[in-house]
């Protein structure tokens, strides 16, 4: 029972969602949107557990005075403070909650994102070596595209921008499509295995 009931629920909801895609009738739409709402509710409940895990992790660090424990205080207090600000002060566009979003979360996020520029440079430097034919092709394609799409590309050869675009539109497109077909069958098979109960590692293997 401990396995069968979850498996039946998983099977039923999976099949229902597939059928739901085929039926345009309002009953089916209603069902689809209700289940989507339930999903959101379940995610919110799971967030309680997740935040509980975060509090426990940092709480333990502080109590046992593990390395870097003072930073855990930063996480916990800022989380509590932000929640209080949101619940007490509201979430209007002019509220403190939104101001903090714009002036703390947004710059932190954009700066982490901007680190990518540096990492792309160091990753390319370290790994773009013409070790084999395949690696050389990768290197050459990256080069041509990088030069071709820049204003100075045309100075090297007036044909270069068009060549760079060709690489994007022909070989790049072909490989992406080929990968996508494989991905499609891989994920459909995975999803079916889950629904049909063939793959059940989430229940702890085959027993």
């Amino acid at each position: 029972m401990k396995r069968r009931i979850p498996l039946i629920i998983c099977f039923a909801i999976g099949i229902l969602m597939i059928i739901q895609f085929m039926i345009p009738h309002p009953i089916s739409r209603e069902f689809g949107s209700t289940v989507n709402k339930w999903y959101i509710v379940l995610a919110a409940f799971a967030l309680v557990l997740a935040i509980g895990n975060l509090i426990r992790h940092h709480g333990t660090k502080i109590r046992r005075k593990k390395t870097n424990w003072p930073y855990s205080i930063v996480t916990l207090t800022s989380m509590v403070a932000m929640s209080i600000i949101g619940f007490a002060g509201g979430v209007d566009p002019k509220s403190l909650y939104q101001t903090i979003y714009l002036n703390v979360l947004a710059p932190l996020g954009s700066t982490m994102f901007a680190l990518l520029a540096y990492y792309m440079a160091s990753a390319a430097y370290r790994s773009f070596r013409a070790r084999s034919l395949e690696a050389t092709l990768l290197l050459a394609a990256a080069f041509i595209v990088m030069i071709g799409f820049m204003p100075f590309g045309q100075y090297i050869s007036p044909r270069l921008p068009a060549f760079a675009e060709w690489i994007m539109k022909v070989p790049n497109m072909a490989s992406q499509r080929g990968i996508m077909f494989g991905v499609a069958f891989g994920s459909i098979a995975t999803a079916l295995k889950i629904i049909l109960g063939i793959e059940r590692s989430w229940l702890g293997g085959k027993k």
Binding site: I5, W38, Y39, S110, A135, A141, G178, W202
Partner: protein, 206 residues
């Protein structure tokens, strides 16, 4: 220089994250832990306002008893804390996994199989412009070779060997091109941060 304290906060946080490029240090540690804390606080409020209120408490308050089902399912997550009924946690998980698997199957067939087939199949119209037709043939060959590379249940010997090799070459060219193109798209993010530091904060550029 700007007198808005929020700009200063934004600027310091930006510098703290950048300091990580040199090495891990107390400033980065602070910014990272603050990021995690504030973001989680943000989402706690967000879920309460946008998930639980409209999708659970309001309908329940209005007497819609169907919503007892997600409430019950949600509570089952906490069964983990009572060892005897701990297995109940698998019920909401089964629900979520089944839901995710179910919606993805038709979606993948539609967007990843049928639509890509439509785009790859060559028709006489592809040859209206001869050179475009030639490239369409190259794309078709590329797609087939890539497919062969992913063929698992046969050893890549005989005819499969050169074809799958060609497939991996297409893949590598594609990877290189995407990498190069993305460099262009991403450097602009860094430029954006630098503009923020030099402009609104330091006032060195307008």
């Amino acid at each position: 220089m700007n007198h808005d304290p929020w700009i200063w906060i934004g600027a310091f946080l930006t510098l703290m994250i950048f300091s990580f490029l040199y090495k891990d240090n107390p400033f980065y540690k602070f910014a990272e832990h603050l990021f995690v804390g504030v973001a989680n606080g943000y989402y706690i409020v967000f879920y309460w306002q946008n998930a639980l209120m409209p999708n659970l408490f309001e309908p329940l308050g209005a007497g819609n008893l169907v919503y007892l089902v997600p409430l019950l399912l949600g509570l089952m997550y906490f069964a983990r804390f009572i060892p005897k009924i701990g297995w109940l946690v698998r019920i909401p998980i089964g629900f979520m996994i089944g839901w995710g698997a179910g919606i993805s199957i038709p979606a993948y067939f539609q967007a990843f199989v049928l639509r890509q087939l439509q785009g790859t199949i060559i028709t006489p119209q592809s040859f209206e412009n001869t050179i475009d037709g030639v490239w369409a043939v190259v794309i078709l060959i590329g797609v087939i070779c890539t497919l062969v590379y992913f063929y698992f249940s046969k050893e890549h010997k005989g005819i499969l060997k050169p074809v799958s090799r060609l497939g991996i070459m297409f893949i590598m060219i594609g990877f290189g091109a995407s990498f190069g193109y993305t460099v262009m798209a991403r450097v602009s993010l860094l430029i954006g941060r630098i503009q923020f530091l030099l402009g609104p904060w330091l006032g060195l550029i307008d």
